[in-house]
């Protein structure tokens, strides 16, 4: 069964819907006027710590976040 449904251009390029939707949302947030823009960007900040496990034991966790200074 050949895919004769018209796929959107982003899916044809290998992007998923979530990626597409997040890119659109980021572009809209970057075009906001000033107080709203900083609110929106601070709301969407991500901050998490990752620890890799080897031999059943966790190694020291690394902290990752959107902004490079942390």
């Amino acid at each position: 069964m050949a895919s004769n449904a018209a796929v959107p251009f982003w899916r044809a390029a290998g992007m998923t819907y979530i990626t597409y939707s997040n890119i659109c949302a980021n572009l809209v947030r970057n075009c906001l006027k000033e107080p709203y823009k900083t609110e929106a960007l601070s709301r969407e900040k991500v901050h998490f710590s990752i620890s890799k496990w080897t031999d059943g034991k966790p190694e020291k966790p690394t902290i990752r976040s959107d902004s490079p200074e942390e």
């Binding site: 890119i23 949302a25 572009l27 809209v28 970057n30 075009c31 006027k33 929106a40």
Partner: protein, 201 residues
């Protein structure tokens, strides 16, 4: 023989009724799980049955037989609920197939949305939001659920940033090589031109 007559008469009137319901006719969700309560009371008649998750949820309104006069809109974002069960006259959603107006009694539809303007019409008031993308689910009982990742009132968009973004992405589209870069640049051009027409139009 005549005792059966009323039953036979009743049977001949049934063929004109639909024997199977349409799949889009959604029944109202009950506030309690009746089969659970029945089986509980058979096994443990002395205790009250515990509440199940369905009793904590507000039940889905039934599909009314006449078209209701107002549309109930639930407009939600990941971080906030913009409109929650608001009764309006009409909403116009930016579907990928074009601007779609939704009135009470609209056919059940699932529409993918493109970056564009959502306008909510209530009497003489029109509220417009610019949506980044999302979905609109319209149910048979005239409830419309609109979900978007980002939605801002149009006056919060900065025209200078939009123009700059449009110019940047148009240039990136010209110079893109891989499929993925082209797709990203195309998305940038689409979103910025939608914002541009939202601000000017």
């Amino acid at each position: 023989m005549f005792r059966q007559a009323s039953r036979l008469l009743a049977r001949t009137t049934t063929p004109w009724r639909r024997s199977r319901a349409f799949s889009s006719d959604v029944p109202a969700t009950p506030a309690q799980d009746s089969s659970f309560i029945e089986s509980w009371s058979k096994v443990i008649p002395n205790l009250d049955p515990p509440k199940t998750p369905s009793s904590f949820m507000t039940p889905r309104p039934a599909t009314p037989s006449a078209i209701p006069s107002k549309l109930t809109v639930n407009f939600v974002l990941p971080y906030a609920s913009e409109l929650s069960a608001k009764e309006v006259d009409m909403v116009i959603v930016p579907a990928t197939t074009g601007q779609m107006g939704v009135l009470p009694g609209h056919v059940p539809t699932i529409a993918e949305l493109k970056p564009g303007i959502l306008s909510v019409h209530e009497g003489n008031d029109v509220t417009k939001y610019f949506l980044s993308s999302g979905f609109a689910l319209i149910h048979a009982n005239s409830v419309a659920d609109i979900i978007a990742v980002e939605a801002v009132p149009v006056d919060r968009l900065d025209p200078a940033l939009v123009q700059k973004g449009l110019a940047d992405f148009t240039q990136k589209l010209g110079s893109a090589t891989t499929d993925l870069e082209k797709a990203e640049a195309q998305i940038g051009v689409d979103v910025h031109s939608a914002m541009n027409s939202a601000i000017t139009g």
